[in-house]
């Protein structure tokens, strides 16, 4: 073993003794890789990975925002719909009330008109009656004096007296008829 080791060492072949030129090349190779991969390229991919995380998180945030917005819109629409329904029922109620009011007013008017017509008719009737009565009164006076004259036969010369007598009679008659009424 010792001979083998010494032989190997003599050949510069001991695997545990590094060659100087390999150390130099190793340092160079390692330095180049660290410089290019470690210092230049790694920051780039780190930046991209950070951006990707941000993009994904941003996308999720955006989706959440959109959902919240949709929810808000839906709530708004529902509210508007309820409001519209409420408004419609209110209008219906109002219309019904108005209808009822109009109906009542019309009825009132019609009744008033009817009353007015009836009153006018009453007045007309009264006037006619008065007129008829006045005519009748004159007629009756004349007729009854004529009649009475014929009956008693020219006994009643004084016309004035006759007229007074008739008038008194008629007034009595009128007052009695008024009392009866």
């Amino acid at each position: 073993m010792i001979t083998a080791a010494s032989l190997v060492a003599a050949e510069g072949n001991n695997p545990l003794i590094p060659h100087v030129y390999e150390l130099v090349v190793g340092i160079f190779a390692f330095a180049v890789v660290v410089l290019v991969v470690g210092k230049i390229l790694t920051p780039r991919i780190q930046k991209t990975l950070a951006e990707r995380t941000e993009a994904i998180e941003g996308g999720i945030q955006k989706a959440q925002d959109a959902q919240a917005e949709a929810q808000a819109l839906l709530a708004q629409y529902k509210e508007q719909l309820a409001e519209a329904r409420h408004e419609a029922s209110r209008l219906r109620e109002e219309a019904r009330e108005q209808g009822a009011q109009i109906k009542a007013e019309l009825r009132e008017e019609a009744q008033a008109e009817a009353r007015r017509l009836i009153e006018a008719a009453h007045a007309q009737i009264e006037a006619d009656r008065q007129q008829a009565f006045a005519q009748l009164r004159a007629e009756i006076g004349r007729l009854s004096t004529d009649l009475a004259g014929r009956i008693v036969g020219e006994s009643l010369e004084d016309e004035a007296r006759q007229r007074r007598t008739v008038d008194r009679f008629l007034e009595e008659l009128e007052s009695s008829s008024a009392a009866v009424r």
Partner: protein, 264 residues
């Protein structure tokens, strides 16, 4: 021993491969430093840089092709190596750790790539460069973040132990942190690749020797076993190669983490 047997071996006798596997002549006669491991080390750096450049030079928010593959490597190193040991400092050291992981892995993979078939890390100089860099960085960071006295005090006198223990513990901690740790850091990688290469060379030589060089009815089954074992061990070796790259980067992260924040 094997060198001796190789030197004295007759032509028709099977001799298992030995240290001569790692003793490679210069590629260009006269240029003594330009050997296969040197070429492969440079090639590995080139591959790592080219791969990472293709993936990360202009990274896309929605990754495609090679960027996808490299991102798997990045997130693996970040989540399995950097974050467990460095926590919130992980991102700052990702450049170094990613470089180490990719580089060691490519070095190791050189051992199974057909025709190339030589793990760079089986020449101890290369692991030594990485381990030594981490060692220097570790001490620098320790002194910078914990103070020149605080660093050694935290290392050798962890608080909360009965006083007499320190008589025993302080030298052990000093030895393990400042002498054994960097040594094992380099040698673990080196020895794994060294042994792996010998095993692969041995089984492939068994197959080649008994099936092609000296084909005999008695030797042929042995040759078949050699071929089968070569295939099986190549798969196993690829696993070890990845594991060692992972472990090397993980230990680097651990050393850096311990220097940034004192152990408790």
């Amino acid at each position: 021993m094997s060198t001796l047997t190789l030197l004295t071996a007759p032509e028709d006798k099977f001799t298992p491969p030995g240290l001569e596997l790692f003793d490679l002549p210069p590629i260009i006669a006269g240029v003594t430093w330009f050997t296969k491991p040197v070429l492969l080390a440079l090639l590995s750096s080139l591959i790592v840089i080219a791969f990472c450049w293709a993936a990360f030079a202009k990274p896309k928010l929605v990754p495609r092709g090679v960027q996808n593959v490299a991102e798997i490597g990045y997130t693996f190193v970040r989540d399995q190596v950097a974050r467990p040991f460095l926590g919130k400092d992980a991102d700052r050291w990702m450049g170094l750790l990613l470089s180490i992981f990719f580089m060691v892995w490519i070095w190791n993979l050189m051992g199974v790539i057909p025709v190339i078939q030589f793990p760079v890390a089986s020449h101890i100089a290369f692991p030594v460069v990485l381990a030594l860099s981490i060692y220097i960085l570790k001490i620098y960071l320790g002194i910078k973040h914990q103070g020149p006295i605080g660093y050694f005090k935290n290392m050798m006198f962890p608080p909360g132990l009965p006083k007499p223990i320190y008589v025993l513990l302080a030298p052990i901690e000093f030895l393990s942190n400042l002498i054994i740790a960097p040594f094992t850091h380099a040698v673990r990688l080196f020895a794994n690749m060294f042994a792996g290469h010998i095993i692969l060379a041995f089984f492939s030589l068994v197959g080649f020797w008994f099936l092609f060089e000296k084909l005999t009815p008695l030797g042929a089954p042995l040759g078949v076993i050699g071929v089968v074992m070569t295939i099986a061990m190549t798969g196993f070796e690829m696993f070890i190669q990845f594991l060692q790259a992972f472990l090397f980067a993980m230990l680097a992260a651990m050393y850096i983490g311990n220097s940034l924040h004192a152990e408790h």
